[in-house]
C-alpha cells in the first residue's frame, strides 16, 4: 500500500487501500489510520478501482479528521499519490527485474556447470559464481518488500460509520433484534459451523445473541438466540460492519475476517489458524487457536518446533489440517469473555508460546503483507488460547 504524507499546516496522509477483498481493505484501513495517528495527520482515502465493501471504506476515524477533498484539490492529491505510487511501482518492478536477471544468469551458469565437456575446475568455478549470483537474486527479492510494522495494528483506532449509514444500519439491526444495547457476538465461520453449536448454546444461555455473518455456506447455524445473516439476501454492507463494530467479539476462521476486525476494532477469536506467525493476533484482545497440522504421509501431528520452522512456514498448505474441536472452541470463547471482563493475563505457557512465535518472526524473512519481522520480532500482543497453549508450549 502506497502512502503519501502531504506536509502542510496540518499534515495529511493520502492512501488508496486495496479494495479487492474485505480482508485487504480492512488491513489497509487499519494500517492507514494507525499511521495517520502516528504522524498526527488527517487522513484522505482515495477510492480504489474495485471496492468490495463500501461500508467498510466509509468508516470514519473518531480521533482525527477524514478529509474528503473536492474538485481540483482532489485531482491534485490523486495525481501526487499516483506519482508516488508509480515511483514505488517502478522500484518494485526494477527489483523484480533485477531478481529475474540474476536468477536467469545463475541458471545459465548452472546449465554450463552441468556440461561434462567442460573441465571440472572450470565447472566448479562456474558453480561458485552461480551461487554468488543466486545470492544477489535473493537479496534483490528482499529489497522491495516493505514489511508492515505489526506494532501499528497493536492499538485500535476508534472508528464509526458516517451518520446516515449508521442510522440505516441501526434500523436494520433493530428490525432483526441485534441492535445495541442487546449483547451480541458475531460469527464469521465458513467451514465446520456445526462445531459451534455448544458455544452458541452457552452464549444464548447468557442472553447473548449470536449473529452469523460472512458468506456462509450450506451449513446452518440455527437455534434460539441465533440470527443468521448469511441467509438474508438483501442485507446491506453497512449492517455487516455495524454488527461487527458493536459485537462483544468476533469468532472467525479466516485471515480476511481477522483483518476486518482490526479495522472495526472488534476483539477477535481466530479458529483453525494455519500459520502460527502470520495469524498471531496483533492486539491484546485477540485470541487464536491453531489447526492441528498433520504430515499426511505418516499421519503424525507436527510438533510446535516444526510449525515454527522455515520449512513449514514457507508453505503450510503442504500439510493436512485438523480443525479445532467444539470443546476447544467453547473453552477459548470462555477465556476471551473472561479476558474482556477482567483483563487479559497470560499464563506461563501462553507467554512462552508468544516468545517462541516472536523468535520465529524475527528469524524469518519478510513474507507477504503482514508477517514481517519489523519491530524486532514483534508478533503481536494477543495470545494462543490457553486450552492449546498448555498442550503445545
Amino acid at each position: 500500500m502506497t502512502t503519501l504524507l502531504v506536509r502542510r499546516r496540518r499534515p495529511l496522509l493520502v492512501v488508496r487501500p486495496d479494495g479487492s477483498t474485505p480482508g485487504a481493505l480492512g488491513l489497509d484501513l487499519a494500517i492507514a489510520l494507525a499511521r495517520a495517528r502516528q504522524a498526527g495527520a488527517d487522513v484522505c482515502l482515495l477510492p480504489p478501482p474495485t471496492l468490495c465493501d463500501p461500508a467498510l471504506f466509509a468508516l470514519v476515524p473518531a480521533d482525527r479528521r477524514r478529509v474528503e477533498p473536492r474538485a481540483f484539490h482532489r485531482a491534485w492529491l490523486r495525481a501526487r499519490w499516483r506519482a508516488r505510487d508509480a515511483a514505488a511501482s517502478i522500484g518494485r518492478r526494477a527489483a523484480a527485474g533485477r531478481r529475474s536477471f540474476w536468477l536467469e544468469l545463475y541458471r545459465e551458469l548452472r546449465r554450463h556447470a552441468g556440461d561434462e565437456r567442460l573441465p571440472y575446475p572450470l565447472r566448479a568455478r562456474l558453480r561458485t559464481w552461480a551461487q554468488r549470483w543466486f545470492a544477489r537474486a535473493s537479496a534483490a527479492a528482499e529489497g522491495p518488500t516493505r514489511p508492515i510494522d505489526r506494532r501499528l495494528l497493536e492499538r485500535p483506532v476508534p472508528i464509526s460509520l458516517p451518520p446516515a449509514l449508521e442510522a440505516s444500519a441501526r434500523s436494520d439491526a433493530s428490525a432483526l433484534g441485534v441492535a445495541p444495547p442487546r449483547r451480541t457476538v458475531a460469527i464469521d465461520v465458513r467451514t465446520g459451523v456445526d462445531r459451534l453449536h455448544d458455544t452458541v448454546r452457552a452464549l444464548a444461555a447468557e442472553g447473548i445473541t449470536v449473529v452469523r455473518l460472512g458468506e456462509g455456506g450450506e451449513d446452518r447455524l440455527d437455534g434460539p438466540g441465533v440470527v443468521d445473516l448469511t441467509a438474508a439476501k438483501d442485507r446491506s454492507p453497512a449492517l455487516d460492519v455495524f454488527v461487527r463494530q458493536h459485537a462483544e467479539f468476533l469468532v472467525c476462521d479466516t485471515a480476511d475476517a481477522q483483518h476486518v476486525a482490526y479495522a472495526t476494532g472488534t476483539p477477535c477469536l481466530v479458529l483453525d489458524a494455519v500459520d502460527p506467525v502470520a495469524s498471531y493476533p496483533a492486539r491484546r484482545d485477540g485470541l487464536y487457536m491453531l489447526a492441528e497440522a498433520v504430515d499426511l504421509d505418516s499421519g503424525v501431528e507436527l510438533p510446535l518446533e516444526d510449525r515454527l520452522g522455515p520449512e513449514y512456514l514457507r508453505d503450510p498448505s503442504r500439510y493436512g489440517r485438523r480443525r479445532n474441536t467444539p470443546a476447544e472452541i467453547l473453552a477459548a470463547v470462555r477465556e476471551l469473555q473472561a479476558g474482556l471482563r477482567e483483563g487479559f493475563r497470560d499464563t506461563a505457557a501462553q507467554a512462552r508460546f508468544r516468545e517462541r512465535v516472536a523468535a520465529a518472526c524475527a528469524r524469518q524473512a519478510p513474507r507477504g503483507r503482514d508477517a514481517g519481522p519489523a519491530g524486532g520480532g514483534f508478533a503481536g500482543s494477543g495470545r494462543l488460547a490457553r486450552v492449546q497453549a498448555e498442550r503445545l508450549a
Partner: protein, 596 residues
Amino acid sequence: MTRVLFVMLHPGFIRYYEDAIRALAGEDRHVHVAFEVSGTKLGADVAAARLASSSPYITCGTAPTRAESVRVFLSRGDRTATRSGAADAAGAGRRDRAWESLATTVRLLLDYLRYFEPVFASAGSLRMRAEKRLPRVYRAPVARLARRGRWARAMLSWTLRALERTMPPNRAVEAFLREQRPDVLLVTPLVELGSQQVDYVKCARRLGIPSAVCVASWDNLTSKGLMRVVPDRVIVWNEVQKAEAVALHGARPEQVVVTGAQVFDRWFQARPGRTRDEFCRMVGLDPARPIVLYVGSSVFVAPDEVPFAERWLARLRGAADFTVAEAGVLVRPHPANANQWRLLPPAPGVAVWPPIGTDPTHPDFARDYFDSLYHSAAVVGVNTSAQIEAGIVGRPVLTIRAREFAHSQAGAPHFTHLVREGAALVRAADTLDEHLHQLSDALAGRAPLDEARRFVGSFVRPLGLDVPAVPAFVAAVEALSRQGGSAAPDPWWAAAVRPGVWAVARVAHLLAEDRPLWVYAVRPLITAGVWAAAAVYGVRTAWSGGGRLRVKRARRAAGRLWHQSRRSAGRRLDRASRPVRAVMRGALRRLAGRGA
C-alpha cells in the same frame, strides 16, 4: 501367429485391460505390452509382473526411450527449478530432441485449444490444467486467438495439424515397430495432454500396421487431450463415447467400435467373499444397521474432500430419519488420494476401510472392495468410477452438487453422463437436505433403480446386459488384424517443407525452456564466454602441466643446435677459408720479400 503390440503409457493401465489381454493371448496370438513410463505407483509394476507371468504368450517390456519425453519437456520449463540441466549438446540426439520438442508443443497447443470450444465452456479447471502444461510464451497469444471465434480456432488447429504432419517419423519408435513386427498395434490412452503415443500411430500407418486406440475410461474423451491422429479403429465403451469420438476427436463413425467396458466385466460375475456379519465385524460397524458407503474421489476431482465428508457426516447424524442418523458409514478412500483421509476424526459408527496405505495390488483388495459395495445399502460420492461399479452391483448411488466440487461436477463433461435425465446412474442433490431425503428413500428401499439399470445397460454393456465386453474387444482386435493395413508414406509436400520446419523445431526446443526472451539473446555471449574461458583454461593447463618444461627443453635444444651449428659452420668456414688464407699468406710473404 498373430503378434499384438499393446503400448500403454504406464503399467497402471493394466487394470483396465488385464482380462482383455489374457483373453487375447493364446496359442495363435502373442501379446507384447510395452510401457512408455515404468511406474511403481499403486503397485503398477507388480501388476505388470503378474500379467507377464500369467501366460507364456504375454510379455511385458519398456517402450523405446525418448530423446525428450513429455516429463523432461515439462521439467525443462519449470521456472521454479534452480537447476536447469546441462546445456544442449550438439550431436545426433539434438535433432531428435528438437523434433520431440516441436511435437510436444504442437500437441499441447492442440489440447489447450480444444478447451475453448463451446462444449467446454464450463470446464474452466480442465482448461487451466491444459494451460499449465504449456510454456508461458504461447498462452496469451493462443488464448487471444482462440477467443476470436470458431474460424480463428479452426485456422490455428489446421496449422498445428499441418505441422504435425510435416514432422518426420520418430526414428526410435519406427525402429521399435520394425523390431517387434506386430500385426496389430493397440495404444492407450493416446489422449493424455501432449501424449507422444501419436508417434506410434503415425509410424504404424507408415509401415502399414493397423492400429487402434483403446479408450480406457469414461472420462478419457472429454477431460484430457485430443487424439490428433486418429488410428484405424477407436475402441470405445458405448454409443455416448462413440458420439464423443466423432464430434470431439474427428473420428469417422465407421472407425469407431463399441465393445462395452472390459474393466467392469468381472463385477458382473463377482460374489461376496464374506457374510454381512463377518464383513461388519472386520470393518468395525454394527451389522444391525444399514451401511452407507462413501467412496472417495481422485485428487483432481476432490483435492480437499475431508472437510466436505465431515460436513456430510454431521448432517447425516442430525437427520430427522432415525435410520439415516444411525446408519453405519464406511469410507473408502480413492487409492491415489488416500492420505488426506488421515485427517478424518474417529467417530462412532464411522469406519475407514481399507486402512490407508493398504497395498492395492494385494489379492484381497478387490474382494474387499466388492464386499464394501455389496454389503452397503447406498453409495455416496462426488464423481468417481466407483459410482459406476456401485450401479453394476445394484446399489442406489447418490451425490451432492457441492460448491467446492463445481469444477469436477458441473465443470466436468463426463459427470453429466452419470446424471443424464432419463438414464441417470446417480441421483444428484443440490442441497444436503435434499440429499438426506434421497438417502432416507435409499435406505428404506424406495430408491428407483430402473434408471440406474438402464444406465448400466447403455453405458457399461451396450451390447446387452448379459454380453460381456472382453469377447467383443477381442473380436474387434481380431477383425482389425484380419483387415491388415497398407503402408502410407508421408505426403510429398511434408518432405519439401521439412527443412523450414526444422528451424521452427529448434525455436520450439528453446522456447520450451520457458525463460524470459532476453535470455535467448544473451545466451550465445555467455556460451562463448564460457568456452573461451575453457580454451584459456586448456592452454594454461597445458602450459603448467609440462608445457613449460617442454618449451625450456626446446629452447635449450634450439640453443644447442644453434651453438653446434655455429661451431660447425665456423669450422667449415675455417676449413673452407684455409686455402684462401694460405694464398693470402703466401701473397703477403711475397710482397714482404720484394720489399726487403
